[in-house]
């Protein structure tokens, strides 16, 4: 049964076309997934279908839901679809749920006001029970775990009785375990309905199956059944996208034996009197990479900061006393936050060069090596993309000839292809310079392919 037909949907900003015409059909029980990076136009496509395009952007094409036709150029008309025929899953459920309303009420109000069903409270309770959320009914969203909030938002979005589910980037910024939860939820949405998912997440796309549309620069470059696209991609971009998945990265070649740089015995870190993780020990030589894995909030960053000497710790931590004082450097998760916001990147580098009397001639070859244009240095951090900024942060660290680099989830906010390139550059340069790296990530596949040894932290 066909639930939704979108024909020649495109998006314009004035005379600029941001999304070239795309057609897609949602069938009962079949998933359609739009795969692409940020800026590929995949979210705009979904917004054009839903009628939620930002001000200044116009959609065109035709949309048929059930027997009714809608015009994406007049998004106000789409409003009747929301909740009743299309359930929209929020990107970040924790922010999308009303923090001041109890869980069950947020579902019950939809039964009551949207579906006009009898006994909304009973129905809401049943919805929650079906998702294993019995305990969440009386709680406020901020009292729930991320996974529970996700399920609550799913229940609230679908309580209006919609057969179609649209999910825009449902796994953005999630740990691997949570990603599996989302996959299970979306599969539930497929039972007795259609599903349109917008994502950059190959694992999710694989798990959902159905049809995949690959978007780049506002155009669908390749489409077809999930199994075919993911195993035998035709278009070069699809191939690059699949190669960028850490699960498909080449295995790391172990480095030659080098002197030990950092040795930890029974080390742990406390915050506000609470020990963050069970004491750990490791020995890290120059040229080696240590991967640190663990659930969010377990103290991965704190352990790294303790090695850098930024935080007090318990246990024994030995750092090679022969290492230079400024030889321990760091890359941050949120690249713009790691730079002074109001001075140009070049100004920051100039200050560093002046402070440590560094030879200015070293900057140009490093820019070249990191594939950075010198003109980027005239901009403010806010005017440079995350991937470029992270490479400039690496350049800044390299000027100080580091022997150790703490990479604190350095690529978690980058697109897959950018992530692959950034990590490749980082590991290559570390090998050239015999630099030791401590790499923190919530992506186990990524850590497996970059690390010589892994350390899994567990909460105390």
């Amino acid at each position: 049964m066909t639930l939704l037909v979108a024909k020649d949907i495109s998006v314009h900003a004035g005379s600029d076309r941001l999304v070239d015409p795309v057609s897609l059909t949602l069938e009962m029980g079949k998933a359609v997934t739009v795969l692409g990076e940020s800026g590929s136009g995949k979210s705009l496509l979904a917004q054009a279908i839903l009628g939620t395009l930002p001000k200044g952007l116009d959609g065109s094409g035709t949309l048929t839901v059930g027997g009714d036709t809608f015009d994406p150029a007049r998004p106000q008309g789409n409003r009747v679809l929301w909740g009743r025929r299309i359930a929209v899953l929020p990107q970040e459920p924790w922010l999308a749920l009303d923090p001041l309303m109890r869980g069950q009420q947020q579902v019950a109000e939809v039964h009551d006001l949207v579906a006009a069903a009898s006994e909304p409270a009973v129905r809401a309770k049943a919805d929650l029970t079906a998702l294993g959320l019995e305990a969440a009914g009386d709680k406020f969203p901020w009292q729930l775990s991320g996974g529970m909030a996700q399920r609550l938002a799913f229940a609230a979005a679908r309580a209006g009785g919609a057969a179609i589910t649209v999910a825009d980037e449902p796994t953005k910024g999630l740990d691997a375990d949570r990603r599996d939860d989302v996959l299970a939820l979306l599969r539930k949405g497929l039972e007795g309905g259609g599903l349109l998912t917008i994502t950059h997440d190959l694992t999710l796309a694989k798990g959902l199956g159905g049809e995949i549309l690959v978007m780049q620069g506002g155009t669908v470059v390749e489409r077809g059944p999930a199994a075919r696209i993911l195993t035998a991609p035709q278009h070069p971009y699809t191939r690059a996208l699949i190669a960028a998945d850490p699960a498909n990265w080449p295995r790391r070649v172990p480095p030659s034996v080098q002197p030990v740089l950092v040795r930890a015995t029974d080390v742990t870190v406390s915050r506000a009197g609470r020990t963050l993780f069970r004491p750990v020990g490791f020995s890290l030589s120059r040229g080696q990479t240590l991967g640190i894995f663990g659930p969010s909030g377990c103290g991965k960053s704190s352990l790294g900061n303790a090695i850098l000497g930024l935080l007090p710790y318990e246990g024994t931590l030995w750092r090679d006393p022969g290492a230079p004082k400024l030889g321990f450097q760091k890359l941050w998760q949120d690249p713009p936050a790691a730079f002074p916001a109001r001075i140009t990147l070049g100004q920051g580098l100039d200050d560093l060069i002046a402070l440590h009397r560094i030879d200015r001639k070293r900057v140009a070859p490093l820019l070249d090596r990191l594939k950075l244009s010198p003109s980027l240095l005239t901009r403010l951090p806010s005017g440079v993309s995350g991937g470029e900024l992270q490479r400039i942060a690496l350049l800044r660290a390299l000027l100080l000839d580091p022997v150790f680099l703490f990479a604190d989830e350095p690529t978690s906010r980058l697109d897959p292809v950018t992530q692959a390139e950034t990590v490749r550059l980082m590991t290559e340069i570390a090998a050239e310079r015999d630099m030791a790296i401590v790499f923190v990530s919530h992506d186990r596949a990524l850590l497996h392919s970059v690390s010589d040894q892994m350390l899994e932290l567990s909460a105390q």
Binding site: T52, R79, W82, P90, D98
Partner: protein, 314 residues
């Protein structure tokens, strides 16, 4: 519960801080006045009519006024800690009696102004915030900004000229009938309304642009339902918190407006006391105003905790 106790503990500390600042200032005022300190304190205690050299000497001995400023200061603060505010230097009446006498008139005026401002400000702010950047929003921004540029005394002056002198609609000064209420209450309310419209508008615009608002609409709720069920709930805490901070503005307004319109309240009494260098009365009114702020904000903290149980952001 722990955070509720923290809130109360903070407000108690703040109250102590207010009393300390007022006490120090009052002590300095006493020191700065011409003449014999012991005589003035005796007058403050027993009234000017009864004071004589013996009483003054008794006070001097009791308070150790020859003992140096530190001891004197401790005695002064001791009186304050026992909530012994002394007598007015002008009327001879106990300061507490004078203040409780005048507080009622001030509270009436303040309450009328608050109610009036709440009827004007927040509804306009909600309308503007729901369509942030729209024509109404920009118009309100200009109007609110010009009202902020008009201090309350100036607004009072303009209203007197316009409504009392030119159009002869209302009495300019006095107390007693309902007509006397209009000008002073309106003067206070317009300034407060401009401020609260502005803050409501910002809160509403923030909530209307938030993911929670988008999700509530995506669930299928109508605009009115979204506003009633999610919008108002979420602007409540910031707006109420801000109203508490506005209390200082209100008190300042009350002082000026009461004096302009001859309203027999605590602000009028303060100006009168300053004019006559009646330090115990100044101390008493300052204390009541400062502690009133703390008390009101303590109540607001508790209300906000009920609206938003996540805890009060300072």
């Amino acid at each position: 519960m722990n955070t509720a106790l923290n809130t109360i503990a903070f407000r108690l500390m703040q109250a102590a801080g207010v009393a300390l600042v007022v006490g120090v200032m009052s002590f300095l005022m006493m020191q700065a006045m011409p003449g014999d300190m012991a005589f003035r304190i005796a007058a403050a205690r027993y009234g000017y009519d009864l004071v004589n050299a013996d009483l003054a000497n008794a006070v001097r001995a009791e308070l150790g006024l020859d003992a140096g400023p530190v001891t004197q200061f401790l005695h002064w603060m001791g009186g304050l800690a026992r909530l012994d505010l002394g007598q007015s230097l002008v009327s001879g009446q106990p300061v507490w009696d004078e203040i409780t006498h005048q507080l009622g008139a001030s509270l009436q005026l303040a309450l009328a102004a608050i109610v009036l401002s709440l009827l004007i400000g927040p509804p306009l702010g909600i309308c503007a915030g729901l369509h942030a950047g729209g024509r109404f929003d920009r118009a309100l921004l200009v109007v609110a900004a010009s009202f902020r540029a008009v201090p309350q005394f100036l607004l009072g002056l303009l209203l007197i000229i316009l409504l009392a002198v030119q159009m002869r609609l209302l009495p300019a000064a006095g107390h007693g009938s309902l007509a006397h209420f209009v000008l002073p209450a309106l003067t206070l309310a317009l300034g407060l309304a401009a401020a609260s419209a502005r803050i409501t508008r910002d809160a509403m615009a923030g909530v209307a642009a938030s993911p929670l608002y988008a999700f509530a609409r995506a669930k299928g709720l109508s605009d009115g339902e979204v506003l009633r069920r999610h919008g108002l709930r979420n602007i409540g805490a910031p707006v109420v918190t801000y109203l508490g901070l506005q209390f200082v503005l209100l008190v300042e307004g009350v002082v000026v407006v009461e004096t302009i319109f001859g309203w027999p309240g605590i602000g009028h009494a303060l100006i009168h006391a300053v004019f006559h260098r009646d330090v115990p009365m100044v101390q008493g009114t300052a204390l009541v105003m400062g502690l009133g702020f703390v008390l009101l904000n303590a109540i607001i903290d508790l209300i906000v905790r009920r609206i938003d149980p996540r805890g009060v952001q300072s």
